[in-house]
């Protein structure tokens, strides 16, 4: 049987889960987003069509600083030497045009993110179970 202290802590945790997002969930959200954006970055870097290397070098992943939000922006920064935006070049290589086939390197990388919501849920469940165990063990 739990002592009063642990019961109260557990009650507090379970209570907070019913009213607001528990810390364990937010941690899971951040961990999964970090991991998957890292994989996305590797995927793009490994598959971006290379001519001069300029497009690959322009690929940028930035953390978004916004209150109550967590995430990243991934894009091809700047222009090439002829003044064409790298983002536009990447889109053309991805989707193709009437004259060239698309490589779909961006679409393929994005497709791998499918199910991220479920992976966040799973990670959160693990974090919460771990926290409950910690509280039970004192």
């Amino acid at each position: 049987m739990w002592n009063d202290g642990i019961s109260k802590q557990l009650d507090g945790l379970l209570d907070s889960m019913g009213k607001e997002i528990p810390e364990e969930y937010i941690d899971a959200l951040k961990e999964v987003i970090d991991e998957e954006v890292g994989s996305y970055k590797q995927n793009i870097n490994g598959n971006v069509p290379i001519d001069t290397g300029g497009l690959k070098n322009s690929f940028t992943v930035e953390k978004i600083i916004k209150q109550n939000y967590y995430g990243y922006r991934a894009y091809f920064k700047g222009d090439n030497k002829n003044g064409v935006p790298n983002e536009k070049i990447a889109n053309i290589l991805n989707y193709g045009t009437e004259k060239i086939y698309g490589t779909f390197f961006i679409d393929r990388a994005i497709r791998k993110l499918k199910g991220m919501g479920k992976r966040i849920e799973k990670k959160a469940e693990k974090n919460i179970a771990k926290r409950i165990k910690e509280l039970q063990n004192g």
Partner: protein, 57 residues
């Protein structure tokens, strides 16, 4: 441009798109999807990916 952006609030399913990604996606989004992308309603990550749209969250 891909945004992986999650709102932390009452719910963790609100996805947000920047203007650039809206512009890029408008070219091949259906009307309903464009509405979602332009912020007329929220769309979950998996729904967005299922719809084949480039962004996440």
């Amino acid at each position: 441009m891909l945004y992986v952006l999650c709102k932390i609030g009452a719910k963790v399913d609100v996805m947000d798109y920047g203007m650039n990604v809206i512009y890029d996606l408008m070219n091949y989004a259906t009307e309903a999807e464009s509405d979602a992308l332009s912020g007329n309603k929220s769309m979950g990550l998996d729904d967005m990916i299922k719809a084949g749209k480039g962004g996440v969250f």
